[in-house]
Amino acid sequence: MNARQLLAGIASLSLLGTVLFCGCEGAGEVGAEIGRATGVLSDSQADSVARGAQAVEKTFQDLTPEQEYYIGRAVAASVFQSYPPLDKPEANAYLNLLGQSLVVFSDRPETFGGYHFILIDSDEINAFAAPGGLILVARGMVRCCQNEDELAAVLAHEICHVSMKHGLSAIKQSRLTEAFTIIGAEAAKQVAGEELASLTEAFEGSVGDVVQTLTTSGYSRKQESRADAAAVEILRRAGYPETAMLAMLQRMDTRLSDSGGLGFAKTHPSAASRADALREDIVDTGSTVNTVRQQRFAAAMQSVVAGQ
């Protein structure tokens, strides 16, 4: 490489760097074209830079509902390794009926594979929302709810994590860049061999990022408060008393301080602070607990709560 080529190379790379940091669309192609024209990059290298640049510009928001669906399935399968499902057809049927009657009032009622709910065998006061709509609710969380309205508040909160793509937002950008680079390669319709192995690796890493956030590190405080506020809106639209959210949070606060910070406490801001943040937005309609709702909740969840 002579001095002229070196200079051109530095110029093109710095231009590439600058435009990438600007986030300008098509910037990578410009850099690649300069590299190609100055002979610093071969045609295949230039194509690769262009593809890489397109991939860098994409974020978790560019994951399609289909990709979100496959990530969510793997996230749920991973969580099941530590939190086995509860094989209780009646309780799970009730949970899905309640969940779906809330989903229809969410801002994102349609995902690729739809929303589905299941109970998990854990005493933790906890629930997990895998991307795409697979929602797992621990036995300990059901115990924390005194009636259907409060369980509705829990499910609405998890539905909002899905609709706001909070799980996907936990995926490290480097993994997405890797995946989008492979996806962006124009040669074949399907990937194979090494490419499939790299794609699977990026997939596993992405799934791991989401699982880590769900089970250990938790969402940001801002994401939790946004999910809380949107959940109250779902309760309002669906006809449940908004105060159920406060009642649930207050009981959770009491029980969590007793439990010594396991489960939900580990991954969520304190329930008391969440309740405080919501209080002024919540309208108390003074409604009493509906008997039918109370009875069907008790009938479906009796054995779950009892821990049988």
Binding site: F105, P109, A179, R296
Partner: protein
């Protein structure tokens, strides 16, 4: 000058509101009689199918299907991006550019899940059982009526 900019923005906005051709981005696209998730399903449209959509109204597009049927679809089930189907599905897009292929065919998809299973990394048994839980619109309506759930702002 300012008027011209406003006029240009208005034209742009009107163009966005009138949707034109949109593609189904969920596995089972549902066309409803009314713009409500509680509305009766009048037709199902497959992943990747194209519908003609009118102006978006509170999250709902009035749509016309290729066979002339009309109804409403929620915005979350539709995308402007072209959906290129996986090879071998019969509907595989030919000559799609890398951006268009983004929705299917390659990526985090059935092929990657199959590799995860083949490598013995994850057990999907319960994921499949869970995904099979289905609730019908009639069941939701009955559940709401019996529980005196009188919401329904949307």
């Amino acid at each position: 000058m300012r008027i011209k900019v406003v006029a240009a923005l208005l034209v742009l906005f009107a163009g966005t509101a009138l949707a034109g051709s949109l593609n189904v981005q969920v596995r089972n696209g549902k066309v409803r009689a009314t713009p409500s998730q509680l509305g009766k399903v009048v037709a199902d449209v497959a992943y990747g199918a194209t519908v003609e959509a009118g102006t978006l109204q509170n999250g709902w597009y009035p749509v016309t299907l290729p066979d002339g049927k009309t109804g409403w679809m929620h915005e979350s089930s539709l995308t402007r991006k072209r959906v290129a189907m996986s090879a071998g599905t019969g509907d595989a897009a030919t000559g799609a550019s890398s951006d268009e292929v983004a929705l299917a065919g390659k990526g985090f998809n059935a092929q990657v899940e199959a590799k995860m299973k083949a490598d013995g990394k994850l057990d999907y048994t319960w994921v499949d059982r869970m995904a099979a839980f289905q609730v019908s619109e009639d069941q939701i309506a009955l559940f709401r009526a019996q529980g005196k759930l009188l919401g329904g702002a949307r």
